[in-house]
């Protein structure tokens, strides 16, 4: 179960980008390949935990699962595999070792929301702490 490590990497990546653009991250869009070695549900669970105590707390992780696409040299075409247990062309049955898609673990986009506080509010909060 390395999804917690992955979740921490996502938060790190997203935070870097958010700093460049400014604003609070409300959602993170991720593309997750079926050959990435990362389990979607475990990642969603780990993400919420990993966000605690970071500026991303309360943000949503939106995962787009990417199927495995291979190149079939017999058909000279890209084919989507129904199962990662069987790397053969669904059309002609040829063996297809060449993976085109499916290893993705990619941060695609961030949703940056309305800033919750302005500087005066920050100062006021700090003073009452």
């Amino acid at each position: 179960m390395h999804e917690l490590s992955i979740a921490l990497s996502i938060i790190e990546c997203a935070s870097e980008e958010a700093t460049r653009h400014g604003g609070k991250i409300t959602a993170v869009h991720l593309r997750l390949g079926r050959l990435s070695g990362v389990v979607k549900d475990a990642l969603l669970f780990a993400y919420d935990l990993a966000c605690e105590g970071t500026p991303l707390v309360g943000s949503r992780l939106l995962i787009e699962e990417v199927p495995v696409v291979v190149f079939c040299s017999q058909c000279d075409a890209e084919r989507e595999l129904a199962s990662i247990q069987s790397f053969c062309c669904p059309v002609c049955g040829a063996l297809t070792p060449d993976v085109v898609h499916g290893r993705e673990l990619e941060l695609v986009a961030l949703e940056l929301g309305v800033l919750e506080m302005n500087h005066e509010d920050h100062a006021a909060t700090a003073a009452t702490d």
Partner: protein
Amino acid sequence: MKTMPRLPRLIEVRKNVLKQNDLLARALRERFREAGVFVVSIVSSPGSGKTTLLEKTLTQFRCECRVAALVGDLATDNDAARLARTEVPVKQITTGTVCHLEAAMIEHALEGWNLAALDCLFIENVGNLVCPSSYDLGEDLRLTLMSVTEGEDKPLKYPTIFNSADAAVITKIDLAAAVEFDSKVAYQSIQSVRPGMQVFELSAKSGQGMDEWLQFLRRTRDQG
């Protein structure tokens, strides 16, 4: 002074989440290439025989080239102690709660080692057939091991790790008859998740199949 509230917006990023690891792995690969070190990483489930295979491989390789090993485990330095008996430089990487090796751990473990004084480096990953598949370690060759006692369908249960490997090794072949292991079925399972992958059957204990295995390593190293 009040800041104006900003409207929600979508920022396109397109960034590999493991970029940090991949960049480090790329830098390591470059360092290995410049120093002329051939790097082999080994993954398998716990108890498949990684350390025994490595012990026998190091014993043979130390007569032919300058070889060293890094070995990853959650806890203990037992494996490093075992491998140190082969009298090659060995370093244990204790990961604590982390279930896999990452490029940064390799970089850290190599501190103090002169890569130019090595020809070959073996990296034994933490026993785990799931997590190591996501992390590039800068290796030239990644091997996935399975022992005959684990069942012929292991590759179908863990397709990602077998798909990420360059070659597969079936270990403990001396026990095949006792556990009614069907090599043909295992071979089919491997080919199904990684067509064309080379498969070796061996017993590090009895020595069966070790010659072909060592020959393959030498060939791959020399091609590098």
